[in-house]
Symmetry: C2
Subunit: 107 residues, 2 copies
DNA sequence: ATTTAATATCGTAATATTGCAATATAACAT
DNA sequence: ATGTTATATTGCAATATTACGATATTAAAT
């Protein structure tokens, strides 16, 4: 017991859940917001800005990155993270599709 | 260590994360989809439909309910769950607001 | 009153997530 | 080559989540 039984659910349900997990931690929401707020996309100010340790931030960035929401370009020794807008948009559309399909019926 | 440090984040970040958590499990996504699919909103067919035990479904319903996404009306000994459309809509709007505000800038 | 059916709660085991110190890696600067 | 700075990875402790059996609870049905 204890582990999510992914195999009993539909593709869609698993996908929505997986994408929602990225947003399911305030630090990751904050990271996305902060990256977008900078018009040039500065990076581990995130540690100072958000107030979590560097390893923790790095771990959250990994989760965001695994959802293909980040484009990192090396800029000297630092990395310039920025949001992959196309993918971000795609994510928004997937959520909206879920919401729209789901809200059709009911008492 | 171990626990999410909510206090260091903004209201908005915490709120989005909290709402995302509801959708961050495929069973809960599936429950929302199934409830909406039934034009009359039948209930613990969910146990048969989704393939998790009754206590597990009940627990997931609790999470959905705590996000104020359910309206339960008693119908004999069974409960007729249905989605609170207004709240569901509100949730969609909050997500869209986050997406729209966040996707403005970037490299 | 007893039985039956639907749902909720409790307790607990398995697993996942969060957070950080310590350490590794990579790239530039000297 | 060595030091410095930025980021990633590892290891581990604390906490949260998931799942379910066992047990309540509730309300209709007999």
């Amino acid at each position: 017991m204890g582990a999510t039984k992914e195999h009993i659910h539909t593709e869609t349900a698993n996908e929505i859940a997986e994408l929602a997990k990225v947003l399911a931690h305030p630090a990751r929401v904050a990271i996305l917001q902060y990256i977008s707020k900078q018009d040039s996309c500065i990076c581990n100010d995130l540690v100072d800005e958000i107030g979590l340790s560097q390893p923790t931030i790095s771990q959250h960035l990994k989760v965001i990155n695994e959802a293909r929401l980040l484009k990192g370009t090396f800029h000297g020794k630092s990395i310039c993270y920025c949001i992959d807008i196309d993918r971000f948009q795609e994510l928004q559309e997937k959520f909206n599709s879920f919401f729209n399909k789901t809200k059709i019926n009911c008492c």
